[in-house]
Symmetry: C2
DNA sequence: GCTCAAAACTAATGATTATTAGTTTATTTT
DNA sequence: AAAATAAACTAATAATCATTAGTTTTGAGC
């Protein structure tokens, strides 16, 4: 019944392996074994190992920029935009469980020809994120003394790393996870002094 | 004047390369080139490529557990202990600029014989961190509704990722960086409503 | 300048690996 | 069922790489 493209199966298996062992440590053998075929047979469906990595990463990059565009084109206030960004990360983490893990380290193995395209998308995303933080600071939602570079880095670290946590605690739902993250990331761990 | 052991030079060069290209993508050639010698000559100083990775990672693990022990054996209150943990990460990030980057991803390439030892140290560290968070919650410094698993994951994500940020902004000093992180991580990004 | 050890070099080995070529088997279309 | 296409297989290639063996160079202490 499950009409899953072989090409997609290959990409899914590869994503899982790239995540666990890393791109370089994953052989075409490994991927083929996961599908019960011989390594050479993979080439009936894909062009190269590099193509798999490229498509996995570019797909993720597209999903993030599309989500960011939606948020920026919305009429939400700054505070809600920040919350929607957290939602975006949580949603994509659930949706692309395996391949999202590649954005923290495996992107370095992209072909030198592709790498700049990937990094450009990444930069655009971070700049858009920063723009929202700046709006917040202008509206005094964020204190003037806060270094926004550090704030951005800190939030993105947690959100990039989410997939790791999600794998260890698959029981906690999307909504609860997003709510907790908003509380901790945006409003702080330590209860404000009364 | 600088009497640096060749062995140390090798480990330093390797750390830089492992960080940039990953363990598997870094060849002994690469390391040798960085030192202006031939690959085979490395073996006059080290046992294997794996030995380099092991020593780099175990060194970091030791530094973290030692720092954690100091904090737990201190008589600081819970709040200050949390702040000292941030200091610990910032200090080690400055001290082990390159090799600290390996803790986010390259530890998976540790020999299967060594890996459990590494993971045990890592677990111990995280459990000690969690114990401090639990004390904070018991003392109402952290709200009862906060999920401490998520809080721990979130803080550690930012602190693990620090080396990345530090490399892009080497101009900001330790003290300023630590102060900002304490503010953002512990007391939140969004100013509390008055 | 000789001795000895440390540390460099050259050359080879064996293993792994991504990819290609050529062939056979399965499946779909006609 | 014949033909055509898709997808599997076997076998080979060429490159890379960690590591070893054996040899030469370097440099400090005598």
């Amino acid at each position: 019944m499950t009409e899953v493209n072989k090409r997609t199966q290959i990409k899914n298996a590869a994503a899982k392996l790239f995540r666990k062992k890393g791109y370089r440590a994953t052989s075409m053998q490994d991927i083929a074994d996961a599908l019960g075929i011989k390594a050479a047979s993979l080439y009936n469906h894909i062009k190269s190992k590099q193509e798999i990595l490229t498509e996995l990463l570019m797909n993720i990059a597209l999903a993030f920029t599309a989500g960011m565009d939606d948020i920026r084109n919305s009429s939400l206030d700054e505070n809600s935009q920040l919350e929607e960004l957290v939602n975006l990360h949580v949603n994509l983490t659930f949706k692309y469980k395996d391949s999202i893990a590649l954005i923290t380290g495996e992107w370095v193995h992209l072909d030198p020809e592709i790498l700049p395209q990937y990094l450009e998308k990444r930069n655009n995303y971070e700049e858009a994120f920063m723009a929202i933080l700046e709006s917040c600071q202008k509206k005094k939602l964020i204190s003037e003394s806060t270094n926004l570079d550090i704030a951005l880095f800190s939030i993105l670290s947690s959100l990039h790393w989410l997939y790791n946590w999600h794998n260890k605690n698959p029981d906690l739902g999307k909504i609860e996870l997003a709510a907790q993250l908003k509380k901790i990331l945006l409003h702080g761990l330590i209860s404000p002094k009364k």
